[in-house]
């Protein structure tokens, strides 16, 4: 049995989802993968918990009661960087919600962890969208893994699929739906005849949209993911500012119904092709594989051998995203 020590950064929806899945799957992973995953630290922006291992159940119980981790008796006032210096871990799991304009604090945490000699798994699209080349370069120089499947497409294994399943194919282009919130809104406008404001309100009520959904409806979230996928899978060196972005706010109920009458749906599509990146609303034939409903995500690869390969899944969610995070961790475990 191999014991692998993990330092978690961020204990929001994704971080708590990670802890819940570990409590649920710990024995299964030992049996199936021969790996004993131990969380030895949980870092937040204002402090941390260190343990050998950290009692995840107790920490989750505390948060379920609405109590923040800084009330925990073993709470230490260390910054994430100070925690990285102090703790001995094999993999840093970075699940912090960073700023899309700066990529911080996530990018700083990833850098510090790689510098310390840890492998890194990240779900933080903002850190990667801002500092992709720098972080990948650092990981390469340090000879450490930096994997980020969860940062683009949540529970959908897009990068792993490209890396592991279609190795002989040359990916010519990719296009897809990378934002579940806008897909939910556009589905409701098409199928339910709603206007955009009503569909957005419903998405917020169901927890599919943030209180401030600007990043989703303006296409920024999808653009960050498209950039990560382009750089990882196509090997490009694009910056977030290279993505041409159009959001969905100008789409009217009448336009959606007009498209439907003529055999089409409108979807927010990320396009990665001909060395350029764009996110914007597109007309999709009703019978097209990218016409998926609700808050699902989908990506279509166009390759030279397998031709069209389509993957559909949950692009977000505290639990669904863990599928990607654990997949990355277990890949690294083979080398630890």
């Amino acid at each position: 049995m191999k014991t692998v020590r993990l330092a978690l950064f961020g204990f929001g929806v994704i971080g708590r989802g990670f802890a819940k899945v570990l409590l649920e799957k710990s024995e299964y992973l030992k049996k199936k993968q021969g790996v004993d995953l131990k969380v030895v630290a949980i870092g937040e922006y204002n402090g941390c918990l260190i343990g050998e291992p950290v009692d995840l159940k107790a920490v989750l119980d505390l948060r379920e009661k609405g109590i923040w981790l800084d009330k925990h008796p073993q709470w230490k006032k260390l910054t994430p960087q100070e925690l990285i210096k102090e703790v001995k871990a094999d993999i840093a799991v970075e699940m912090v919600p960073s700023d899309i304009k700066t990529g911080e604090p996530g990018a700083g945490i990833i850098k510090a962890a790689l510098e310390k000699g840890m492998h890194v798994v990240s779900s933080d699209k903002c850190a990667l969208a801002n500092k992709f080349t720098e972080l990948r370069g650092l990981a390469t120089r340090k000879g450490k893994w930096l994997l980020y499947e969860a940062s683009a497409g949540g529970g959908m294994p897009i990068m792993n699929l490209a890396r592991e399943c279609i190795q002989a194919d040359e990916v010519k282009s990719m296009e897809g739906i990378l934002n579940g919130t806008t897909n939910y809104i556009l589905t409701k406008m098409s199928k339910g005849g709603m206007d955009l404001e009503t569909a957005l309100r419903e998405a917020k009520e169901l927890g599919y949209a943030e209180k401030d959904p600007t990043y989703d409806v303006e296409g920024i979230d999808a653009a960050a993911k498209a950039m990560i996928l382009a750089n990882d899978i196509m090997g490009w060196d694009k910056k977030f500012s290279d993505v041409k972005i159009t959001g969905i706010m100008g789409i009217t109920k009448e336009a959606v119904q007009l498209a439907k009458k003529n055999g089409y749906v409108i979807k927010l599509i990320a396009e990665i092709k001909d060395n350029s990146l764009s996110v914007g609303p597109k007309l999709i034939p009703e019978n097209h594989p990218l016409n998926i409903e609700s808050n699902l995500n989908a990506v279509m690869f166009k390759t030279d051998i397998g031709r069209d390969v389509v993957i559909v899944g949950r692009g977000a969610g505290g639990r669904e995203t863990q599928s990607a995070i654990y997949s990355d961790i277990l890949r690294i475990c083979k080398d630890v």
């Binding site: 009217t252 009448e254 003529n262 055999g263 597109k282 007309l283």
Partner: protein, 167 residues
């Protein structure tokens, strides 16, 4: 759904017609009539005229599938208009009528590019309108040039342009 008509050169052998009808059905075409003109059979081929209803994307898929199977199509009509080349669908949203829709259309059309169909939705005079159109072009070069012009016009007139995905 549009009225569609195709005239094909059918291989005169058992099962050939059934294969064609299967392709139409698979792509959601609603069959009206099949005219098998046996008296005009020549060199092992029989001309067949098939009329059906289908949406434009489904019609395109039917034509593509028939051509993929090596079936020669002599004539293809959708909505009474001859299907001669490439088609690009788009929607314009905004004050499409007030910003002179005629000027928008005339600016992109030339001898190789034409608007094949136009569908307008107008909630009220003060609200933004939506226009769905199908642009037909003889070749890729003329289609690309027309779409570039359309993008520039949409930007100038502050209209949201949504184009069809390449299938």
């Amino acid at each position: 759904m549009d009225d569609c008509k195709i005239e094909i050169k059918l291989d005169d052998k058992p099962g050939a017609l059934s294969q064609v009808l299967d392709i139409i059905a698979k792509n959601r075409g609603n069959l009206f009539s099949v005219n098998h003109i046996r008296e005009k059979a020549k060199e092992g081929f029989v001309p067949v005229i098939i009329q059906f209803q289908a949406t434009h994307p489904d019609f395109n898929a039917i034509v593509a599938d028939l051509e993929k199977e090596g079936i020669e199509i002599n004539e293809k009509l959708i909505g009474g208009v001859e299907e001669t080349g490439l088609v690009q669908e788009f929607i314009l949203i905004g004050h499409v009528i007030d910003t002179d829709i005629k000027d928008t259309i005339y600016s992109i059309c030339d001898k190789d590019v034409m608007i094949k169909s136009l569908d307008i939705s107008l909630k009220s005079l003060k609200d933004p309108s939506s226009v769905f159109a199908e642009l037909g072009a003889k070749n890729e070069k003329s289609l690309e040039a027309a779409m570039k012009k359309l993008e520039a016009i949409a930007q100038k007139k502050k209209l949201l342009l949504i184009v069809g995905i390449q299938t």
